[in-house]
Amino acid sequence: MVNLKINGQDVTVPAGTTVLEAARTAGIDIPTLCYLKDVSQTGSCRMCLVEIKGGRALQAACVYPVAEGLEVYTNTPAVRNARKVVLELILSNHDRKCLTCERNRNCELQTLADELGVTEIHYEGVRNEYDVDQLSPSIVRDNNKCILCRRCVNMCKNIQTVGAIDAIDRGFKTSIGCAFEKSLGEVSCVNCGQCIAVCPVGALREKDATDDVWAALANPDKHVVVQAAPAVRAALGEEFGYEMGTPVTGKMAAALRRLGFDKVFDTDFAADLTIMEEGTELLHRIQNGGVLPMITSCSPGWIKFCEHNFPEMLENLSSCKSPHEMYGAVIKSYYAEKAGIDPKNIFVVSVMPCTAKKYEAQREELGVNGLQDVDSVLTTRELAKMIKEAGIRFTELPDEVFDDPFGEAATGAGVIFGATGGVMEAAIRTVADILDNTSHSEVEYEAVRGLEGIKLASVEAGGKTIRAAVAHGLGNARELLNKVKSGEVEVDFIEIMGCPGGCVNGGGQPIVSSKDRMDKDIRAERAKALYSEDKNLPLRKSHDNPFIKKLYEEYFEEPGSHKAHNLLHTHYVARDKH
């Protein structure tokens, strides 16, 4: 342990701690912009300047390691003045249209200007002007708002190992963008949206779909059906003041109904359907010498990453569509028939924790008979905006349930899809029962839970050992696949989620500020909401879902049937590395 003084106060912290972290533990806030725990620690924005006794100049607290006897001052006239100058200089080249900005009242730059008491900007001068990049179906980049903190670059390059963006040019002309100034829609960006999640300002946002959804809701000829993914209920509450990790399933269903959707369905049901199809596919591959390891295909960011970076492994991907796409296909076939509605008049909206789902919904192979499975994708953030715009008092809503014919009987297996390891655990619950021809009472598989980057586990069932691996975040996925290719890791089944922590930390989830990220792990907090819901559900295995049984009886006959293949499975394309 190291002893130091911050503003005269004694502080004891482990060696290797930075002055910024040490101050935080002592209840002292130091302003930051470029710093983001576990992602970005470059000391480049100079917001976190502090005085060190005996030091020649002010130092960046985010990269300054503590030392025995160090004396730090975070609130001297020199420090306050320097921070204010730094902030005013950043603001002088910023498009200050806060009122109409996506991140109004949720912007770290705006918050700092408020907290540091900036009432005037003394450095009026030339301002860079950029075209807004709107070509990507998922992500909009507006460099007029960018403060060059590089949190997005570090996330994209170092955590996700996608490397679609970097700093271009130098000095005043520096901007963040893709190679040869291409659009995000033209390069190997996988649309995961983690860049949006870490942006402190309004330089990155999702491609807005709320207008399309409002238009569909107002169209009397459209039967508008909505489905919401498991991870949405674990985070939507944050937009309405609930503590992180509070599930708001019932209020979410109530809000969706009040927005005017004709049917409110739960993507959990489709997660159960995915387990039936994917589990069957896995057993088929194991029993018939198919390509192994089989890799899950729920995460569209991961799928595009695989297509760009591991095109030789496309055969390893499960052919299953992702759950919301399966649901879209079922809604426009089975449900349309049952409800007597022409599928052409059905408009399917998916509420997802994910920006890559917007891209996925446009993939032409994800449709049947010329109709896309899903017509529009909203992020959790966009749903919150619509609820606010509609004047729905979310916290006052009653808890409601999802609609028939798919009912409220989602299982715990479907719910945990939203956390890393959840698909694997759900699959094991079903596959183990099938192989052992019994109903196991032990359903919690701790080995695949948690936040370790790569998790390995094996399960004994039906006299076989099924070896499993789980990776979350694309950097971990890349590492795992390289180990599989080299033979270092030998497994039968792999779950990969594109975002660190899985869908609960998806690129479409509510933004969490860098300060909050210092105090809590978003991935663990939100996952808790899902695991607690799983624990409380009467049914915890996908194959026990009575509506799933009914769907197979009435429509698909059995998992992997011809009809199931036609509606619930897809294929992939190799893409250029860049």
């Binding site: 075209d131 990049d133 390059k157 996608v162 490397g163 679609a164 963006i165 970097d166 700093a167 271009i168 040019d169 130098r170 963008g177 893709c178 190679a179 040869f180 100034e181 291409k182 659009s183 033209e186 390069v187 590395k577 860049h578």
Partner: protein, 164 residues
């Protein structure tokens, strides 16, 4: 918004083999990118997307990072040089004597921007820092030919001499 290549890439198999051997020499070194870019520019004369892509793949570095480094250093060029290299001095003396207008005139006549090259590969245009001929300000050069004490009105006639 993307920058389109004006000149089609004409790299040869021999150039590619040279580049590959440079990459192989540096592959596992830290900070290999900059020395490789230097040598690539010597081999090709400039660093178009095709060359940067080979370097990105060869070194296992994202293309965006390669491009970021290329655009950071003025020494690296994204465009080939033309058969005639027009270089207008924007040093202080030339600038106050009106070399800015001369540069604009050349942009207008060639249809290219600074650091660009005409699609036929004939002319490239550069804005230079002081070339040390302030007594002749404003000055520009076309290859080895030096022109001084000129005005923008003189440019069309001079330019015409190189357009056969």
């Amino acid at each position: 918004m993307a920058k389109e290549a004006v000149i089609p890439f004409k790299g040869t198999a021999q150039q590619e083999a040279e580049l590959m051997s440079v990459i192989a020499q540096h592959k596992d070194q830290d900070g290999a990118l900059i020395p490789v870019l230097h040598q690539a520019q010597e081999i090709y004369g400039y660093l178009p997307i095709e060359v940067q892509t080979m370097i990105a793949d060869g070194l296992g570095v994202p293309l965006a990072e390669v491009y970021g480094v290329v655009t950071f250093y003025t020494q690296f060029s994204l465009n080939p040089k033309g058969e005639y290299k027009i270089a207008v001095c924007l040093g202080t003396a030339c600038y106050v004597k009106g070399s800015g207008d001369i540069l604009e005139k050349f942009k207008e006549l060639t249809g290219i921007d600074v650091d660009g090259c005409t699609p036929d590969g004939k002319f490239s245009l550069e804005a230079t820092r002081c070339i040390g001929a302030c007594g002749l300000a404003p000055v520009f050069t076309i290859n080895e030919d030096v022109y001084g004490r000129v005005t923008a009105d003189d440019i069309p006639a001079i330019f015409a001499k190189y357009q056969d």
